[in-house]
């Protein structure tokens, strides 16, 4: 029994079958990659996991509890954090504040009217956020406006914000998309470090095979909304079906 | 801390500022003056609070012209002395009021009660006004009247036609020269009966606010009393600009008279729409369909163009009146500004004169003395014939003009012709008449 169980999920958009009978089990404490060509339904699947979309049929359960019908913030509070394709951070807030928000969310739940005390007087929260920034190697940037940072730093901050919530499952949606090679490598190193040092499950959707094979413990190949194969990276590399469906047309990458 | 509810700034403005207060700060206490803004120097300040922005800005501008003219006449600085010559009371000498030169401040009511109060308060608190006048709607009149009562200054209402001003919202410090809804109804009914007969079905369109309600009630009760039947009365929003949706249902009813209880822009648009829908060409129950506008304003009627022709209504005053007072006023105003005054200008001019005269006769600016001098004061020569300022409710009782839109106007000002001057007896009512019930005058408040 994995930490995340997807069973028989279907999702249609009008006439288009985006997901067809998807079954997926992600085991605890592994890095599980989901790959597939464009339009394979990777993002739709991810959106079904975090509550942005509701599947037409099927079930999604996390640690044995169904996530269906719950809103994104509730699912997040259950222990699933998500990193977006383009970094989603609070651009108008300072880096430190960006990091403090998940700390508050972890401590106070989805809403708390804490309108009188000074943010900076919440020592434990500040310290936790600063500690997290140090881990992310960003302590020197804490007073910067988040939107003024480089894309790589934004990605780093976003991942840090997700980790600050101490999630059980971290979902990454093409975390290196649009990044320069150096930034991509930095991100890979960061994720490796996270994977090694933390008690966390990672699910990653990725286009870049270099990233996938650097990180993944298991890989599911999705094509036309249906899982084709699921196996270890080594086996996937040589799998004929995968070549045909995916690698064949993307070998140029 | 001593109480001085409203300031006596008039003291300073009028030149008392001098050596006395220079060296040491002096704390004024209220003991020094007998009433709010007692003028102690050589001048007295009046506050003219008129709409300068918003839909009634032109009417406000005309009121302001009349006020300026009145001040010139009071100070004796004008080209002539206007109605001072024809006014039955001869207390005013053209040397200011009680020998003090009249100065004035102006403000913008925006035809909003809040803005009007703010403007009036600044006149009282900052400029030391001892009397406030003007305004072009009943909402503003009632709001400012209540303020003046509280502050202890006199309020001489401008154009306000709702019964409430001297009915349920009457105040001892407030006075209205303008006529009201009841009088319109009472004056119109006999004329309408004579022209249109006593067997008529009336359909009312009524502006959906206080003035509309009181006007509808007044016209209904007086026309029903002579035998008319009210088929329907529909309320229309103040903000409406197109009345077609209210006019087409009339086509389906068996009404043969339409009464438009609308003022200003509402009146212009509803009348224009009604004429466009061919209501005036209709024949219902063998009778010509007729339209009635209870309160006419010449300034506003201009906006309806040729549509007013032949339509009956009432008005407080019109420049074509031939009495000496009206002629003197029209001459002064027309010479100075190049066009004849409106009824709003007339009432504001007359109110200023009446106030000045009352002060002169009372020998004091004290509001209570002024109230006493104005209550039950009878006068003549101000354009409406013999007039009584009734003490019970501070309403003027005078003849009311029934007018109709002129068929062949000779100029852009010549829109209305006087059909009948309804004598004052016909429009007089008891102070506790049901349409005016619920108010209490209270006693005068001198403030300070």
């Amino acid at each position: 029994m994995g930490i995340l169980e997807v069973k028989g999920v279907n999702k249609r958009f009008g006439g288009l079958q985006a997901l067809g009978d998807v079954n997926l089990s992600i085991a605890d404490n592994v890095c599980h990659a989901i790959i597939g060509p464009n339009g394979a339904g990777k993002s739709t699947l991810l959106n079904c996991l975090v509550g942005k979309l509701i599947p037409d049929t099927g079930s999604v359960s996390f640690k044995g509890n169904s996530v269906l019908g719950r809103s994104p913030h509730e699912i997040n509070q259950m222990g699933i954090s998500r990193v977006f394709q383009t970094p989603e951070i609070f651009g108008d807030l300072s880096v430190l504040e960006n990091m403090m928000i998940p700390c508050f969310a972890k401590r106070d739940g989805y809403f708390k009217l804490n309108a009188i005390s000074d943010v900076m007087a919440q020592r434990d929260m500040v310290e936790k956020a600063e500690h997290m920034l140090e881990e992310m190697n960003m302590a020197n940037k804490k007073d910067m406006m988040a939107s003024s940072m480089s894309r790589g730093d934004k990605r780093r901050l976003e991942i840090g914000m997700c980790l600050a919530q101490e999630p059980s499952l971290l979902l990454l949606d093409e975390p290196t998309a649009g990044m320069a090679r150096a930034d991509t490598n930095n991100t890979i190193d960061l994720l490796k470090q996270i994977k090694d040092e933390r008690d966390i499950t990672i699910a990653i959707i990725e286009h870049d095979m270099h990233v996938v094979f650097s990180l993944a413990d298991r890989i599911t190949v999705l094509a036309q909304g249906t899982p084709l194969v699921e196996d270890t990276p080594e086996n996937i590399k040589g799998h004929p079906k995968v070549r045909e469906a995916y690698l064949g047309e993307n070998s140029g990458h | 801390m001593s109480k001085s509810n409203f300031t006596r700034r008039g003291v300073l403005r009028t030149g008392a500022v001098g050596g006395a207060g220079l060296a040491l700060p002096t704390i004024f206490t209220s003991g020094a003056s007998a009433f709010t803004n007692e003028p102690t120097g050589g001048t007295v300040t009046l506050g003219f609070n008129v709409p300068q922005t918003g839909p009634y800005a032109d009417e406000g501008a005309d009121e302001l012209r009349a006020f300026e003219l009145a001040v010139e006449h009071l100070n004796g600085t004008g080209a002539d002395s206007g109605m001072l010559d024809t006014f039955s009371s001869k207390a005013l000498k053209g040397n200011g009021i009680l020998g003090k030169k009249v100065e004035y401040v102006t403000g913008d009511t925006q035809t909003k009660s809040d803005a009007a109060r703010a403007s009036a308060r600044s006149m009282i608190e900052k400029d030391g006004a001892v009397m406030v006048s003007g305004g072009s709607s009943s909402g503003v009149a009632v709001a400012v009247q209540a303020l003046c009562q509280e502050a202890g200054v006199i309020f001489m209402a401008g154009l306000t036609h709702s019964n409430d001003t001297t009915g349920k919202d009457r105040r001892a410090n407030g006075f209205r020269h303008f006529f009201n809804s009841y009088m319109s109804g009472a004056a119109l009914a006999p004329v309408l009966e004579a022209r249109y007969g006593s067997d008529r079905n009336a359909y009312h369109l009524t502006a959906d606010y206080n003035w509309g309600y009181t006007t509808e009630e007044a016209v209904r009760s007086s026309t029903e009393a002579m035998g008319w039947n009210t088929v329907n009365a529909v309320k229309t929003p103040l903000t409406a600009t197109d009345f077609s949706a209210y006019i087409t249902p009339i086509l389906q009813s068996d009404a043969d008279v339409l009464v438009l209880n609308h003022y200003g822009g509402n009146m212009v648009n509803s009348l224009t729409n009604a004429v466009q829908f061919g209501l005036r060409d209709r024949i219902v129950n063998g009778k010509n369909f007729e339209i009635v506008v209870p309160l006419y304003s010449r300034l506003m009627a201009k906006g309806a163009g040729a549509n007013v022709k032949g339509i009956f209504g009432s008005t407080n005053w019109h420049w074509s009146l031939q009495d000496a007072g009206s002629q003197a006023f029209v001459r002064s105003f027309g010479t100075k500004y190049g066009f004849p005054p409106s009824q709003a200008a007339h009432t504001c001019y007359v109110q200023t004169l009446l106030y000045a005269d009352a002060v002169e006769r009372a020998g004091s600016f004290n509001p209570c003395a002024v109230v006493e001098a104005l209550e039950d004061f009878e006068f003549d020569g101000l354009g409406n014939g013999k007039t009584l300022y009734r003490g019970d409710d501070h309403q003027c009782f005078k003849d009311v003009l029934v007018v109709k839109g002129k068929e062949n106007p000779t100029s852009e000002f010549d829109l209305l012709e006087i059909v009948e001057v309804t004598p004052v007896e016909q429009v007089t009512y008891a102070p506790d008449h049901p349409q005016f019930a619920g108010g209490e005058l209270g006693t005068c408040n001198p403030g300070a």
Binding site: S94, Y110, A115 | N5, F28, E125
Partner: protein
């Protein structure tokens, strides 16, 4: 973010945390905020002096604003704008119907004065409470949408409130003529009025109209009890708004404005945060409405018209949305124009330009006349345009630019002189 410390004084920009940590707090405020608060306290307390800079009887006395009514309006509309800014400045939700809460608060207040007592405390408390409940209902529904859809929903509620108050609700609201306390009202907590006395708003016997005047030379300063009551309330409201801006709640609101998606995926629900901000700002509006009634005992439906809602939006943007002091400045500027400019008439212009030769005098009067008196709207429109074109951050940015110029000027002087020495 070139000048962190400078910006912090007035804007919601994040506290420079290191600075805040190391310094001690007074009243729970960081040193910059405390300075600002202190400045506002001094300004409001000294307003009767500051707003009356010109001696009585002088030509410039026209520009004096130190009389009770306008001083009261400054602080009351300041409260209204501060509250609006908590919603708009922090969350970015543009409500176009805030005047409804002010109006509802006013009606609640005047009814307290008619039924209970002329003491302003119950009136103000009930105003805040009723406006809060109304804001909760309107906010709960309107916040289901965002952006302009939200704005139109709030506008729709406010316009409905206005229309109904002006017409069919006349028995409750007084409609066109509004409501004023009358001698005959029940007022169950007050004793009977003396014969001839009219009901006056008071604070445990201290009448809002009471006060004294102080003459210094040709200057006359008015100290009005009502103003100081309103000013103290404004200071409390301002202090609370600083605390809200600096609190975790305030941070969450800025996060709502910045990125709602990230907020949801951080386990926080934007809705209760925005709703709380909406209700708080509705209560501020109700407080302003209650104070308006306490200072000037009447209510008219026009204060709920959409232009009144628009006015508070303009005040906030004009002053600088999202800054602490901006909305108060914007409110002051608009109310000043409305009350001072509109009262200047041709006679006064002639007085001003009296010293010129006749022809020039008339020319000057004709040139200036369209912009004052009945033309004050024109000036207001031009100011809106100039401010937004040249000072995108509102008046606060203007202030910062001026301050910056002084600083740079000093620096430049220093750099010029240093090498010489």
């Amino acid at each position: 973010m070139t000048d962190q410390t400078e910006q912090h004084a007035t804007s919601a920009a994040p506290a420079a945390s290191s600075a805040t940590q190391s310094s001690t707090k007074v009243l729970g405020l960081g040193p910059k905020d405390f300075k600002l608060m202190f400045l506002v306290v001094v300004l409001t307390m000294a307003a009767p002096f500051l707003l009356n800079p010109f001696p009585e009887g002088s030509a410039m006395a026209q520009f004096n604003a130190g009389y009770p009514d306008l001083m009261q309006r400054f602080v009351i509309f300041g409260i209204f704008a501060i509250g609006f800014n908590i919603l708009f400045g922090l969350t970015g939700y543009l409500s176009f119907g805030h005047a409804a809460f002010l109006g509802v608060g006013s009606y609640a207040g005047i009814w307290m004065m008619k039924l209970l007592t002329m003491n302003v405390i119950p009136a103000i408390v009930v105003s805040v409470a009723v406006a809060g409940v109304f804001a909760l209902i309107v906010g709960y529904i309107s916040l289901r949408r965002s952006g302009i859809y939200f704005s139109i929903l709030t506008l729709a509620f406010a316009q409905m409130s206005y229309s109904l108050a002006y017409s069919v609700l006349t028995p409750i609201t007084g409609g066109e003529t509004g409501l004023q306390p009358k001698v005959a009202d029940p007022r169950i907590l007050d004793g009977a009025l003396e014969a001839g006395a009219s009901p006056r708003a008071n604070l445990f016997g201290l009448e809002m109209g009471a006060g004294f005047e102080w003459q210094v030379g040709n200057w006359l300063f008015t100290f009005n009890a009502g103003y100081y009551v309103a000013a103290v309330v404004m200071l409390v409201a301002f202090y609370l708004s600083i605390r809200i801006f600096r609190s975790p709640f305030g941070m969450m609101l800025r996060a709502v404005k910045s990125n709602q998606q990230r907020l949801s995926y951080t386990g926080l629900s934007p809705k209760p945060y925005t709703l709380a901000a909406f209700v708080i700002s509705g209560m501020y509006a109700g407080l302003a409405g209650g104070l308006l009634v306490a200072m000037d005992t009447q209510v008219g439906a026009e204060r709920m018209f959409w232009t009144a809602s628009g006015e508070v939006v303009l005040m906030t943007i004009l002053g600088g949305a999202g800054t602490l002091i901006g909305p108060v400045l914007g409110a002051g500027l608009i109310k000043y124009m409305e009350n001072i400019l509109s009262k200047i008439n041709k006679d006064i212009l002639h007085e001003w330009f009296f010293f010129l030769p006749d022809g020039f005098e008339n020319l000057m009067v004709e040139l200036v006349y369209p912009f004052i008196g009945k033309g004050w709207h024109l000036t207001l429109g031009i100011i809106f345009m100039l401010v937004v074109i040249f000072l995108p951050g509102g008046l606060v940015e203007g202030g910062q630019k001026i301050a910056g110029m002084f600083k740079r000027g000093k620096d430049a002087d220093a750099s010029k002189t240093t090498p010489a020495e």
